[in-house]
Amino acid sequence: MTIRSRQRPLSFARLGLCLMLGLPATLPAAEPGSVASGGQGSSVAGPAAPDLITPNALQDPLDSPLWDYLRQRFIGDDTYLFDPLVKVHVPPFAEDPSQVPVSVDARALAGRVERMVIWADFNPIQHIVTAYPQSDQVEPQLSLRIKVEQGTPVRAAVLTRDGIWHVGGSYLDAAGGGCTAPSMAAGDPYWESHLGEIQARRFAAPDGVLAHGGARYKFRVIHPMDTGLVSGIPEFYIEQAQLRGANGVALMRLELSPPVSENPVLTFDTGNTRNVRLWMRDNNGNEFETAVSAQAEGG
């Protein structure tokens, strides 16, 4: 925990973003009250009091003007710390802003992971996915591809059993346009006849990725994942998924948002599991499920 004085940079940009999102412009103003609540209340210093020192304010290592607002939104007033043990791997820049690979890895944390919330600060829809590991047979780790609208911090807030959020993040450089560009599917009827088709494969643990004979599961599902931000194309995306082990035991549950890229590719790491299945449901109520066939193994 650090004590620091802080100013509020770019508050106009914040307001602008809120307006763009159609949120009430009063939202940022609602924060001062939270200084007193919780242990980690946000610090607010208006332009008139630039040197106000607020206890328990943690400096965002990525220095995002939206940090306090998004922290409030995703983890509320819970205790948190910026923790380098939570790794968020992104490329140095977004070559294709509609398909940016992101890997979140919280395996280095000591406590058992209960939840991982992943978001991008400067996206018009910030939330990407929340993952709930439900078994010690699955690693607190997830890889997928996302859409970004501009250069942005990508965050993972990881809740351990002791009630503390461990926040990791990386800055992703991008020219932009991934969220408000139509999906490829919008111009190609292929998805209509292939919606929900899933490719799946189990991999023996790749070198240096997993120890003790664990397995990796990779899934690719055909789905347009439309954000609803493109004129005339309604929101249409997979919003729930569950990785299930033998006998239907839940391994990890996911809540997804439209910034997950079209035709999502999801990668999970597990212990030495067999008979793993992935179940999904989109916001139109379509359900998809696949088992990973035993033959489709590789190494």
Binding site: H89, V90, P91, P92, F93, E95, D96, Q99, P101, V102, S103, S143, R145, A175, Q199, A200, R201, F203, P206, D207, V209, R216, K218, R220, V265, T267, A296, G298, G299
Partner: protein
Amino acid sequence: MPLVSVRSVLPPGLRLNAVARVFGCLGLLAVGLLCVLSQSAVAGRFDYELRPRQVAPDTWLVEGRRESFSTTNGGNIVNVAFIVTDAGVVLFDTGPSLRFGQQLRHAIARITDKPVVLVINSHAHPDHFLGNQAFADVSIGALSGTTTQITQNGDSFATSLYGLTGDWMRGTEVVVPAELPPDNPLILGGHRLRFLAFEGHTGADLVMLDETTGVLFAGDLVFYQRALTTPQTPGLAHWRAELDQLAQLDYRLLIPGHGPLDDTRQAINQMQDYLAWLDATLSRAARQGLTMTQVMALPIDPRFDAISLTRYEFSRSVAHLYPGYEEAAF
């Protein structure tokens, strides 16, 4: 009364009182003064310093930097070349911007008083054709696939180049090339020029062989000492097969799209070596189930250390190509 009614239809912002008018005029003067002052600075700042260098009989090269697009280089990262034939100048590629095209035309005029009679666009990447505007009065030829791609994507390419290089691009607009000359080989002013169509880099890649001088204008089918780029490649195997064909040609000097001249037949070997490594690396990674971020962090064989921008272009290539390798591995 008439005056009042005129005032009443003016938008509020134009109803300036006298004080504001005075300040407004001063402001305009200041802006004007700034423009005058900065114009000389701008002229210096946006000079590409193009220096054509003779590399073979009648053949001149303007070599770009081995960099990626930036506001410092203004997009001057590309090789353009020209042949001064008895019947006029044949220009191979026009550079990344209107300013580049104009400065290139001046540079050519300093070397010969012959007019530019034919311009060739090797392919549809913006650093190779956005100088066309400065040659709009000349016949500009390209493969039909290139013409289609420029028609479809030219404006968005120009937009992204504005973003990457800034004001160097000012005034640049897309000029779509027409067809190639009907004769192939084309005999022009004492030079016998053969045009060859390939696809490995973008789906429509033109190579020109001057059979008179033995100079091969390879366009971006060949990069040398500068990492190759893959955003539109139909596939690495496809590209490699075409490089084998290219290596069969009877040439003495190869001008790559990016990087130094090659008179030792090393450039195509380097391409083959890197493409084979890239293909094998991505295939192995997909078979092992690596995620894209893991692949981007893989080590690059040190034998490619001398090639500039290898790490940068490798992560771009992973973004372009790895999803395909991943799908093939399911």
